[in-house]
Amino acid sequence: MASNYSEKVMEHFRHPRNVGEMENPDGIGKVGNPTCGDIMEMYIKVKDDIITDVKFKTFGCGAAIATSSMSTEMIKGKTIEEALKLTNKAVAEALGGLPPVKMHCSVLAEEAVKAAIDDYLKKTTGKGLPGFKPSEEPICEH
């Protein structure tokens, strides 16, 4: 089992970055559902259009925790525009790849980032992310 994961995934699982809650976040993204076995919550702090801090909490497998951790690292210090360019593929690649059955975890991580930004935009501009629709139905397959 452990051997199915790259060194990098295991490293992020062992020492996840940016775990925890945040006081007064500027944006909160909640994706996934317990039925599927993974839930991600992402919190962002934004100043002058730059994501100055990120935190996450995840219920899920090793890959879910590692993709959450990696995506927070990849958007920290980035502008909103840059963070929106983060794709699930980029997260998976940065982790040295994921087993095919775990790719949905990277999709969830990308969605968590977008959901947090969507929430931030709604709070600041009154309008969310154009075209962003977090899946509300419990769809486990991605």
Binding site: C36, G37, G60, C61, A63
Partner: protein, 393 residues
């Protein structure tokens, strides 16, 4: 790092005495048991000795044992063999909702070929109610298959009571209904007498009882109609052509013999260790619960649900400490659905994802149990800290 194995329900190490028994049958005594010369005759008699040893383990006659490649083949042979041999009598099968995939997927396969299958519900402990079996039986029923003990949650089924209702319904309907049980988790672990259980077919796997992998057996009560599984040879009474896996069969026989002699004392020892692990974990981890029956369960099985966290991340964390366990969470299985057994006993998805199984065996020591009791609660704490479902209390 000293590795610790708590996954005996997945497979067991081969007993060194079994390996010793097998070794001559690779290059010293290598004849084909179908050959009439002395090379063949010595392996033929070794296979027949093993057949007696396996038969004795379950109170059967040697002629009622068919050697197979393992538990999965035995289950496949039982379901397909009975269905195809008795299709003129009926087209209806009954299985329980907590069967191994070797049974459920055979039933699905047969359903695509014109058979019908009823899946029996189970209670919150995973038990089948014999009254439900009686209700499900109809004039066209040809087979009931209920496992002896569940591989995930350890619950032992009331087979004799189920056999009794099958017999009554059979007599009332004038039907011919066979009763099969998958005893892969119990053979060599719990005492089995096929007559007392009232079964017509029973599946065993050698590697679950300290024998080698790749060999198992199907018990077939005399007079039971069953088609052949492998065509092309007269081996195993024509039911399974193919040159016998002689070293494997010899090892299986030796393992059955050892299990029969050592079972009683070993069960008491393992059950005590399991109870220590159970009590320690349930007391040391808040919001954890036992899955499966509290008393009618395998002596070596412990399955618990840890709320708010997911099974694979528990397994990975334990594995990092050298401890091997198992989970019913989807995330470890390659599918995205959690265990059908845990869902069948009524666990909601998130609790099914949070299950973990520790299965003990004859090499498990008290020091190993203590090590899990020391290592696991902090792992749970760490993962819960990361979980959005967990609110610090």
């Amino acid at each position: 790092m000293n590795r610790i194995y708590f996954d005996y329900a997945a497979t067991t190490p081969t007993d060194p005495r079994v390996v010793t028994a097998m070794l001559p049958y690779f290059n010293e005594k290598f004849g084909n048991p179908s050959s009439i010369h002395s090379f063949g005759q010595e392996t033929k008699s070794a296979v027949e000795k093993a057949r007696e040893q396996v038969a004795k383990l379950i109170g059967a006659k040697p002629a009622e044992i068919i050697f197979t490649s393992g538990g999965t083949e035995a289950d496949n042979h039982a379901l397909m063999g009975v269905a195809f041999a008795n299709e003129k009598q009926g087209d209806h099968l009954i299985i329980s909702g907590v069967e191994h995939h070797a049974i459920t997927e055979c039933a699905d396969f047969l359903k695509k070929r014109g058979f019908r299958a009823t899946v029996l519900p189970v209670d919150k402990y995973g038990l089948v109610d014999p009254a439900e079996v009686a209700k499900a039986i109809e004039a066209k029923t040809i087979l009931v298959s209920v496992m002896h003990a569940n591989n995930e949650i350890g619950t032992v089924q009331p087979l004799a009571a189920i056999a009794k209702v099958i017999k009554e319904r059979k007599a009332a309907l004038g039907a011919k209904i066979y009763f099969h049980t998958d005893a892969v988790q119990t053979a060599g672990h719990l005492p089995i007498e096929v007559d007392a259980l009232g079964v017509d077919l029973l599946s065993i796997s050698a590697h679950k009882l300290y024998g080698p992998k790749g060999v198992g057996a199907l018990y077939l009560r005399k007079g039971t109609r069953l088609t052949s599984f492998l065509h092309g040879g007269a081996q195993e009474g024509g039911k399974r052509g193919s040159t016998e896996n002689v070293p494997g069969i010899v090892g299986f026989g030796a393992a059955a013999e050892i299990a029969r002699q050592e079972m009683a004392g070993e069960n008491d020892r393992v059950a005590k260790l399991r109870d220590k692990l159970k009590d320690g974990l349930l007391a040391g981890i808040p919001e954890s619960q036992l899955n499966g029956h509290p008393t009618d369960r395998l002596p070596n099985n412990l399955n618990i649900t840890i709320k708010y966290i997911e099974g694979e991340s528990m397994l990975l964390s334990l594995d990092m400490e050298g401890i091997a366990a198992s989970t019913g969470s989807a995330c470890s299985s390659g599918s995205l659905e959690p265990s059908h057994v845990l869902l069948a006993i009524g666990l909601p998805h998130e609790l099914a994802h949070g299950s973990i199984r520790f299965s003990l065996g004859k090499y498990t020591t008290e020091a190993e149990v203590d090590r899990v009791l020391e290592i696991f609660p902090p792992i749970v704490k760490r993962l819960r800290k990361m979980s959005p479902l967990y609110v610090c209390k």
